[in-house]
């Protein structure tokens, strides 16, 4: 009996650890929505709030889709803490098999808004349902992570998820996300990535400049030019030019449609169901 009791305790202990390692959620009720105070509840968003899992915001990794092993989660968790520590921005990683919202964007935004994450921070969602990755940014993170940077990150990592290398993908995400937090480092990385482009630009420009200089040097050697005019021989006292007639021949009007062009720079934002602004972007995998 004692043995059985002992085994039971061990089993329970193991299962608790497992519960901790997977994800602990709290139940939301109409009476207790478990949302930050600043969020205004309306009929519209109430349903969405209830559909959003309520979690412990300190866990940082919410692996609902169970894509990571415990060991991997531990390492990633360490990296997230380091990121938060260094940047003062929050960061969470969410994986789901089932998306009960309209889009990855909506899911990511709601998940961040309706839990107790910091005012400034980001959330990285791996949505196995729609096969999308999505980076949602909020507060200062919106301005730090411009559309260009987010696209760049997505471009660099989506392949890992196509290849089911979730741990590598997430690790790479955190690495890039941290690097891109500082513009200086981002620019350095961008430069590295653009090296090929720079070489091509330099090749083209230097070819052009060399050509122009050589043409100038070659023309400098040409000191002979056929005279085709006689301007300098005009007798200025005997010059008469008059317009005799100017006959109207026709008029033609053509019109072209004005193309509306849109340009973007920096970060584009959208408003989530909670009413707060988010930035971000995603990529299919």
């Amino acid at each position: 009996m004692k043995k059985i009791k002992y085994l039971l305790i061990v089993f329970l202990l193991i299962s608790t650890i497992k519960v901790n390692a997977s994800t602990q959620t709290f139940e939301r009720t109409e009476e207790n929505l478990l949302i930050p105070d600043e969020i205004e509840v309306t009929e519209k968003n109430k349903e969405l709030i209830l559909k959003t899992p309520s979690i412990n915001e300190k866990e940082k990794i919410y692996d609902f889709a169970e894509l990571l092993t415990e060991e991997e989660e531990k390492i990633i968790y360490g990296k997230i803490l380091k990121y938060i520590d260094e940047t003062f921005l929050d960061l969470a990683i969410v994986t789901i098999n089932d998306n009960n919202k309209n889009s990855s964007m909506e899911y990511a935004d709601d998940f961040y808004d309706y839990n107790f994450f910091k005012e400034n921070g980001s959330l990285f969602l791996i949505d196995m349902d729609t096969r999308n990755i999505w980076i949602s940014t909020k507060g200062k993170a919106i301005t730090i992570y411009t559309d260009e940077k987010i696209n760049n990150i997505n471009e660099n990592i989506y392949k890992y998820f196509s290849d089911e290398k979730y741990n590598e993908g997430i690790t790479k995400f955190i690495e890039l996300f941290k690097d891109y937090e500082s513009d200086k480092k981002y620019n350095a990385i961008k430069k590295e990535q653009n090296k090929g482009k720079y070489i091509i630009i330099s090749l083209v420009v230097s070819t052009l400049i060399t050509l122009i200089i050589m043409i100038i040097l070659v023309t400098k050697n040409k000191l002979v030019q056929k005279a085709t005019t006689a301007d300098s021989y005009i007798n200025n006292d005997k010059i008469q030019i008059k317009q005799i007639s100017d006959i109207f021949k026709g008029r033609h009007v053509s019109k072209t449609k004005i193309e509306s062009s849109s340009s973007s720079g920096g970060s584009s934002t959208h408003t989530s169901s909670s009413g707060s602004s988010h930035g971000g972007g995603g990529h299919g995998f």
Partner: protein
């Protein structure tokens, strides 16, 4: 036509040469210098004393014919260089050949002449200066052996006063653009514009020698006509001259093209529309006057890779003309160096390293 002057020193009777530097005749033997007036004076005095033979000679020169000039005929290119008895040719100025024959000929004397203003030294210097800022010039062009051959030649030119008169039709258009919120509009209005022109041109010149490239001679312009003097045989002293071999009627074609072009341009400027394209004209060129003149040119020919390159300097203004060939190996090396250094600079600016 002034009386021809003997190119002899009025003081000592030695051969005497015209010096472009002081525009006087310097005697190398007795050191005396003479102006044109002094030369004429002494000559007239001498002529009065001289026998009838000389008088006949003087009469004949009045018929605008220079009798018994030395002419050096090149066996190689057929060029003829005229010189007075003081000047000796040892090579052909045009092709560099030494196979030249000395003969005597009669020459139509030009009406007027611009005497040399630049002496040989400044021509040599101008030629040496050609290399400045021209890294693609082959080295051979600065060989002193070549530069020393630079020779002063009076080149025959036809000098025209022309009148151009007539009308020119232009296809002209005005373009106006505006836009509203949906469209850009372009309105093109076309006109047929007719301009009348009547312009006189004085002193349009055309080279009268087939030995010279016409374009090269064009490039020597402009000459300043205030230095045009009545022709005198004495100016040839120390220089060569050439006979014209293009008649006035032939040479005028080039001048006519030029005055017609300029007249069209002037009329075009007068058209008050945005674009104007000349489509037809009734322009007529009338020759008011033509004159045979000689203009001073320093010239040298250089052979490079079996091709002859002629360089000429306006003997009045010092303007240097001529096409310099490109030293291909030099050009390749310079291009490579340029390319590499520009590439490195741009990469540094972009931060590509």
């Amino acid at each position: 036509m002034a009386e021809a002057l003997d190119n002899k020193c009025p003081a000592c009777g030695a051969k005497i040469k015209f010096n472009p530097k002081n525009q006087m005749w310097d005697c190398e033997y007795c050191g005396e210098k003479f102006t044109l007036e002094q030369m004429k004076e002494k000559q007239t005095a001498a002529n009065e004393k001289s026998n009838t033979k000389d008088k006949i000679k003087a009469e004949k020169t009045k018929q605008k014919i220079e009798k018994g000039m030395d002419v050096y005929r090149c066996k190689n290119c057929g060029a003829e260089l005229i010189a007075d008895e003081n000047t000796t040719a040892t090579f052909c100025v045009y092709c560099g050949s030494v196979a030249i024959l000395k003969e005597k000929i009669d020459m139509d004397a030009p009406k007027r002449i611009i005497p040399f203003k630049k002496e040989k030294e400044s021509a040599i210097q101008a030629f040496k200066d050609l290399k400045k800022g021209r890294p693609l010039m082959p080295k051979i062009f600065n060989d002193p052996k070549n530069i020393e051959k630079i020779t002063g030649v009076y080149i025959p030119f036809w000098f025209y006063d022309l009148n151009v008169k007539g009308t020119i039709d232009f296809n002209s258009t005005d373009i106006r653009t505006w836009s509203d919120s949906n469209y850009h509009y372009t309105e093109t209005t076309t006109f047929l514009t007719t301009e009348s022109a009547d312009i006189e041109y004085n002193g349009v010149i055309t080279d009268g020698s087939t030995h010279f490239d016409d374009d090269l001679m064009d490039s020597l312009e402009p000459f300043n006509y205030k230095d045009l003097e009545e022709y005198n045989h004495a100016y040839l002293s120390g220089f060569f001259a050439e006979k014209y071999d293009v008649t006035s009627d032939e040479a005028i074609k080039r001048a006519t093209t030029r005055v017609i072009n300029t007249t069209t341009n002037k009329a075009q400027v007068n058209v008050r529309h945005q674009t104007k394209i000349p489509i037809s004209n009734t322009l007529k060129t009338t020759k008011l006057n033509d004159e045979y003149i000689m203009l001073p040119v320093w010239m040298v020919n250089i052979n490079y890779k079996n091709k002859k390159y002629t360089f000429a300097m306006n003997g009045q203004t010092g303007k240097m003309v001529g096409d310099i060939p490109i030293d291909i190996p030099k050009a390749i090396i310079i291009s490579i160096i340029l390319f590499i250094s520009i590439f490195v600079i741009i990469m540094l600016i972009l931060g590509g390293f």
